[in-house]
């Protein structure tokens, strides 16, 4: 479980996060949603330690990550896997080397064991016979899959996905969403997905946090989000005509 307690962050006097609280439970696909510029990515960076919050703490299973010692942070970081928006694969390394990288850095496994693990992870994300290809030789969707394989190569306990389906076609987006969702349940890990894609919200949102101007305005899940009375969330959701149509045909609609 990941817990946020009063996360605040300002840049050049502008308050981007205004005291975020939240619980992200294990074995669930947790979503942080909101329009562009609401502080989703900053919150994610605070959670993984890329940005130090001005106030507040992040707890990983009651372990203080924000103010912990360097060794404690290091230990928690080894349990974190992250899928970046653009994949963030290492250009100079092949697909196999990219997935093997965390194993090279943090384990004493033999070459054979590492290769087995790499092949397992690549098969798990639906990729085969791509080991020797370079990141520049594979598609955007495949890069995301390799990113997920790299994120789960170690015994990951916490999986972060930063807009996992940005730049992908709708079909590939759904595949990536479902893959993240399946992996979350299969390995019983805490997954946090930052997105503004309503398809993802309705497809995999087991817990949803809606951010608006650096504050949490709404919390719930995919079954209740369409019935929200929060005006800002309604504007966000029903910007999409398809979702508006869904709402108008909903039995709850009066």
């Amino acid at each position: 479980m990941i817990e946020l307690r009063g996360i605040k962050k300002s840049f050049n006097g502008k308050e981007v996060l205004k005291g975020i609280h939240g619980h992200f439970e294990k074995g669930k696909t947790n979503l942080i949603i909101g329009a562009s510029g609401t502080g989703k990515s900053v919150l994610l960076k605070c959670m993984v330690g890329l940005v130090q919050p001005d106030e507040g703490i992040v707890l990983y299973d009651n372990r203080d990550f924000t103010d912990g010692t360097a060794d404690e942070k290091q230990q928690i970081r080894k349990e974190i896997g992250m899928l970046f928006q653009g994949g963030a694969l290492f250009d100079s390394k092949s697909v196999e080397e990219n997935v093997m990288f965390p194993l090279d850095m943090h384990t004493n496994m033999s070459k054979h064991e590492k290769l087995d693990r790499v092949n397992f992870c690549l098969q798990r994300v639906g990729l085969e016979n791509v080991n020797k290809l370079m990141p520049s030789e594979i598609s955007g969707g495949m890069k995301k899959r390799v990113g997920i394989a790299r994120a789960i190569a170690l015994q990951t306990q916490y999986l972060y996905c930063d807009e996992p389906n940005s730049g992908l076609d709708p079909l590939t987006s759904i595949k990536i969403d479902n893959l993240v969702h399946e992996i979350t349940h299969e390995y019983n890990i805490t997954t946090i997905v930052v997105t503004h894609d309503m398809n993802s919200v309705l497809e995999i949102g087991e817990y949803i946090m809606f951010l608006y101007k650096g504050e949490t305005l709404w919390e719930g899940d995919s079954t209740t989000i369409l019935d929200t009375q929060v005006k800002e969330l309604q504007e966000f959701i029903f910007a999409n005509k398809l979702i508006r149509d869904m709402k108008s045909h909903s039995p709850n609609n009066k």
Binding site: K78, I80, F84, G86, D91
Partner: protein
């Protein structure tokens, strides 16, 4: 001053939370190939021609019958060892290696590859920058030695082929009143320049913000700042060590 402070802090982070030694060993080897071996060609070309041009221009200016011709060899040797081989080679390397380091790290920064390393619990500055600096410290002196040899040989070819002086006169000239401390001076210079070029370029690349345009700016800044630092250090070392 703020940038200098940031540069010093970056350097201090290179030695904390390091990875295992064998990982660095492999990285240093890979970087040595990129920085050293891949630069041999440009060093060979530049050095040979610099030596040749120095010999030809010295011969052109040395018109007094009172000055023996072998002095051309002596001048080529001293200019090469003291200045041309270490300084000009390192200025050329600042362009080639410096832009490559800054461009590579800048691209890694804007494509979130450096963030990915940090999230994995790896000290990205130590992992990415330390091997480059060590590789530069290993390979730059070697390149400067190659440059010195080729520059003197270039001077020999130009002198003999143009008939400015004979083989014997040139070889006598380059041996005349030779001080081996000058070689030490050239090596010390190359080590200092290697550190400055690798660290300044890495600093520029590591702190790139923005997109592709900023990566280009970082590369340009890396080359400009490295060259200025090399020339300043050149003057200071000359004052201190000669």
């Amino acid at each position: 001053m703020k940038s200098f402070g940031k540069y010093v802090i970056l350097l201090s982070t290179l030695f904390v939370n390091r990875e295992r030694f064998r990982i660095y060993l492999r990285l240093i080897f890979e970087e040595s190939v990129l920085i050293g071996i891949d630069s041999v060609f440009i060093v060979v070309i530049v050095s040979t021609f610099i030596g040749a041009v120095t010999a030809v221009q010295t011969a052109y200016n040395l018109v007094s019958p009172l000055v023996p011709l072998y002095v051309i060899g002596t001048i080529v040797r001293d200019m090469t060892v003291l200045e041309l081989a270490p300084t000009i080679t390192c200025v050329v390397l600042a362009g080639k290696v410096g832009s490559s380091i800054a461009g590579g790290l800048g691209t890694m920064r804007i494509t979130e590859q450096i963030d990915a390393l940090e999230v994995m619990g790896i000290n990205s500055s130590s992992f990415l920058i330390l091997p480059k600096i060590i590789a530069a410290l290993i390979t730059f002196p070697m390149l400067v030695i190659i440059s010195g040899f080729l520059s003197i040989y270039g001077g020999f070819l130009a002198s003999v082929l143009t008939g400015a002086l004979t083989e014997k006169e040139y070889i006598y000239g380059i041996r005349y009143q030779f001080k081996d401390s000058n070689i030490n001076f050239a090596i010390v210079k190359s080590e200092v320049f290697a550190f400055l070029i690798a660290s300044i370029s890495a600093y520029q690349g590591y702190f790139t913000e923005g997109g592709a345009l900023e990566v280009g700016k970082s590369s340009t800044n890396a080359v400009t700042n490295s060259c200025i630092a090399v020339l300043l250090a050149d003057y200071l070392l000359a004052q201190l060590l000669l």
